[in-house]
Subunit: 340 residues, 2 copies
């Protein structure tokens, strides 16, 4: 009998690691950084070209019963731009692959594209290609963002050094809580379709889930003050998972201070209502599309002038640790999104 | 009631046309050629960068009951490379997006990647990124190929001029016939699983369907003799469809001579066995992944020295026409793949 190993025993990150090991040893000098960062890096004459590709699959990444198609298109674009910003670059072009079953009308596709074009307008990106197809089931989306960064401004996951300050943009955990609210209201609706849900008190969390923005402003602000993060990654799978990625790639440890985790007030209340720890939401919630980055200590005075950047800890020579409000040090653990 | 237009009333090409019109007016000078050619073209310092993305979706583009995963991986890579060759360029990098349900084991994914890496080795391409995910159903693949071409060697769909000679590489229709054989054998197997099919007499057609190659040799040969096609497109949806694309993009007509359509002997026999016209297979079969291109008449003497290039007609000021063996001129019509 042939050997069969369930993908669930391996997990997404191990799978990527395995592919990465097979793919390395590049044939072209131009293939500068491959699998294992937010975007691939191509060596060009005067800058680095950045390329990144992401899935959005119905039934896995989104539920059309509460995700409007225009928001979905917007999200498809912004989550791909986020990977380019995470390299300290600027997105320029987008390729969009759409496959859908015949339950979708051309009006539905127009909605979806309206969202994509809206995001492209906001982030100053051109839609230059892609592929359309039918699908056997559901709506399948993948997109490829192309961007660039000056050669002296590239931020990889691998550049963090001990004593670097760990920063995050914006706030964490709200997108996950928005998803919990939407899932709950869907169940309520399914059991009683006449019930009108009042979701206005969750508008921030829901907005974070349905229409995430990418952190162009923070990248521009850092650029304006001339600070290049020593390492950077976007927060798509939850802060804890991303800190572990940075630490592994940089071969360092980190201490994250629970009390410094930025959590929005509405998210805090919603977490308590759902009886989930706000810290857990911030660490493992996912889909925040904020940036996690490290800066040299000497850049601190400048970076703290930028609005909406939070200092949550330090890079160390030790292990990745969470320093709790209670004063305990516990190992940082990633739950991430277990797709498999 | 909201308006609902079925996608089937629009068709894939009209859908692409609609998106293209919305996407045009590019923000970046670098976005040189966008939607509407085999690959997008980015203006770089010393060359053009080429980017193209393609779907392969289970139940739409392939059937795992007769498509081995290693061949599928190989095909995913080569169909993407084919788009780069169709711009007269060379592929350099590949991003691979894979989403699969939990019915797939890690060994299955290894098989798939083995095929991808095999194609990358043959065509000298680096796998530099992508995204992995679970799927709600089936195996979903999309890939993005990146390549480049010297600025004076780019071939677009839009450059054909009256009197240019229309050329195709290789032969046409066999991949479609391979699919017919595989479908028939599947039905035989389903009705009687003990029956061992003898498919050896269809080995060429089946190979064309299961393991298509991309036409790097022809591109290299043209490059060696210093001939740049005035226009080019890869034959994925069938010759007729691609001739119409070239004519539309170049604002010209074409006369294709039925007697000059290159059809392999095994394909010819198989077509007759299936009671399909070999010409129909060549014109509308699809998935040949050969190249259709035009050259200036003065290049004829040189191009005819290249093996495996066939001259099938001329570009005209009229309409796209098939000149039949019987001497009649009939309007060329595309069936293409109606995905929707």
């Amino acid at each position: 009998m042939e050997k069969r190993t369930e993908i669930s025993t391996l997990g997404e990150f191990e799978l990527i690691e395995k592919i990465k090991n097979q793919a390395s040893k590049y044939r072209h000098q131009q293939s500068h950084v491959g699998i294992g960062d937010d975007a691939a890096v191509l060596l060009e004459e005067n800058y680095y070209k950045l390329v990144s590709s992401d899935w959005l699959i119905e039934g896995v990444h989104f539920d059309l019963s509460y995700m409007p198609l225009m928001h979905l298109g917007y999200k498809l674009a912004t989550v791909n731009f986020s990977d380019i910003f995470a390299m300290n670059g600027q997105p320029r072009q987008l390729l969009v692959n759409i496959a859908m079953s015949n339950r979708f009308s051309t009006e539905a596709i127009d909605e979806l594209y309206a969202g994509i074009f809206k995001a492209c307008q906001k982030y100053h990106v051109d839609v230059i290609g892609g592929d359309t197809s039918s699908s056997a089931k559901g709506l399948l989306l993948s997109a490829t963002a192309i961007g660039q960064v000056a050669k002296n401004q590239l931020s990889l996951r691998s550049g963090a050094k001990p004593n670097d300050i760990i920063c995050v943009t914006g706030d964490l955990g709200a997108a996950y809580l928005g998803l919990q609210v939407l899932e709950r209201e869907k169940q309520v609706y399914l059991s009683n379709p006449d019930m009108q849900p009042d979701i206005s008190k969750y508008s921030y969390c829901i907005g974070r889930q349905l229409k995430p923005e990418a952190q162009q402003n923070s990248i521009n602000d850092l650029n304006d003050i001339g600070v290049v993060p020593t390492s950077m990654i976007d927060i798509s799978d939850g802060l804890a998972s991303e800190v572990l990625h940075l630490c592994k790639a940089s071969n360092v440890g980190a201490t994250i201070h629970e009390e410094h985790l930025p959590i929005n007030a509405e998210a805090m209340e919603t977490a308590l209502e759902f009886n989930i720890s706000p810290t857990t939401c911030a660490l493992n919630g996912g889909e925040d599309y904020e940036l996690l980055f490290t800066v040299n200590q000497e850049d601190y005075e400048q970076v703290k002038e930028i609005p909406d950047i939070h200092f949550i800890g330090y890079i160390t020579n030790g292990k990745p640790i969470l320093h709790t409000r209670g004063g305990q040090d516990v190992a940082l653990q990633a739950q991430g999104w277990k797709h498999f």
